[in-house]
Amino acid sequence: MPPQIFPTAFDALFDVFDGAVILVGGFGHVGHPHNLVRALRDRGVKNLTIVANNIGLGDSLDLLAETGQIKKFIGSFPVRASRERMTHFERLYREGLAEVEITPQGTMVERIRAAGAGIAAFYTPVGVGTIVETGKEKRVFNGREYILETALPGDFALIKAYKADKLGNLTYRRTARNFNPIMATAARVTIAEVEEVVEPGELDPEAVVTPGIYVDRLVICPRDYHDPAIFQTWD
């Protein structure tokens, strides 16, 4: 079905439930669905498994750690390099209240792609000889070792796009594309916050990145820049 357009991010999350697995787009603040994540906090759902590249620092996904809503984080950047700026999430983790599944960034997104593409599992060379291979099947192809990684689907995907048309086709701006298009393919329900919704035919059909088939809900939200923090995402 073409997507339903919701008046607020809060409304768009009407059926999010305790214990859900939620894929969240964005690389740092760029392409991150800030409005949907705040609405997720406001919904008060608990025991969430969050799949995302990184946690914020007091903002973005760290908001859900502050309220103790995250049970598990699967991603490549669970903590910042600098110990001085500890996130709510790291505190939660240190208190034993949240788990972390650390994954190479490319393995994470390939696992999500596999879920959306009907692939059960794949053999990747990334992580061989490191803790990433712990507990995983290894196998040699053409003389090289590979690790078996399995598909990683979500119950919901919260993504940020630039423009949508009413059929749910999405475009992105520059590096704000990142994980969003793949996450859109891999959840039972995909919810996109966008800056504008246009009529079908107004987007260049050669430049649509997410075909509308993947988008269940839209909400129009103001852009949320978080300028000052971007620069120090990893510190």
């Binding site: 960034q105 590096t175 594309r177 994980f179 620069f231």
Partner: protein, 223 residues
């Protein structure tokens, strides 16, 4: 030894300049978070930078009004785009990396072993770390260069017989560039190609755990 453990080497800028000399026009290059991003200030025209957050062809860091909030590198820094830049989503970006299409990757390091093992994602005392795209990059890039300080903050060698920290990749490093030396990782062992101005091969050896092979043509770094 105490003296050597704290005597300064070249500056971070000169380290970046030296690393930039490993790159040639036409190469596709990924620069890791931290010190390696500095390299982008010193590269020749025609070197094409890939950023794993989904971009090929970024330019120097963006300043002031040219900053676009949707245009960052993987280090979270605002960058500019050069003519012919293009964007792609993360699965395509890591297909590019894992698939062996990047010529050179320059990464920071916590420890490098004699055999080219790299540890750069977790300090064990902390108990938790961030892998980011580093494992993908060391696995996929045709050539991995580590750009790091030669000694840690306590003055201890970061080039070791065996890494003691959890690895990022096993036998993946080709070249190590530090504030004191340029060291090739070869099947025969580590070869000291260049030393920093004011340093002798013996002095570099003294702050390096594995035995360094010093060839007759070992020279002073030039920039």
């Amino acid at each position: 030894m105490t003296q050597l453990s704290s005597r300064p080497g070249i500056s971070r800028e000169l380290m970046a300049v030296r690393a930039a000399r490993e790159l040639r026009p036409g190469m596709y290059v990924n620069l890791g978070i931290g010190l390696p991003t500095l390299v982008s200030n010193f590269i020749e025209p025609g070197i094409i930078l890939q950023s794993e957050n989904g971009m090929l062809g970024y330019g120097p860091l963006a300043e002031g009004p040219e900053r676009d909030p949707d245009l960052i590198n993987a280090g979270g820094q605002y960058v500019t785009m050069l003519p012919g830049a293009c964007f792609f989503q993360s699965a395509d970006s890591f297909a590019m990396i894992r698939g062996g299409h990047i010529d050179v990757c320059i990464l920071g390091g916590l420890q490098v072993s004699e055999k080219g093992d790299l540890a750069n994602w977790i300090v064990p005392e902390r108990g938790i770390g961030s892998i980011g795209g580093a494992m993908d990059l060391v696995t996929g890039a045709k050539r991995v260069i580590v750009l790091m300080e030669h000694r840690d903050r306590q003055g201890r060698p970061k080039i070791l017989k065996e890494c003691t920290y959890p690895l990022t990749g096993r036998r993946v490093v080709s070249l190590v560039i530090t504030d004191l030396a340029v060291i090739d990782v070869t099947p025969d062992g580590m070869v000291l190609r260049e030393v920093a101005p004011g340093w002798t091969p013996e002095e570099v050896q003294a702050v390096t755990e594995p035995r360094l092979i010093v060839p007759p043509d070992c020279q002073e770094m030039n920039f």
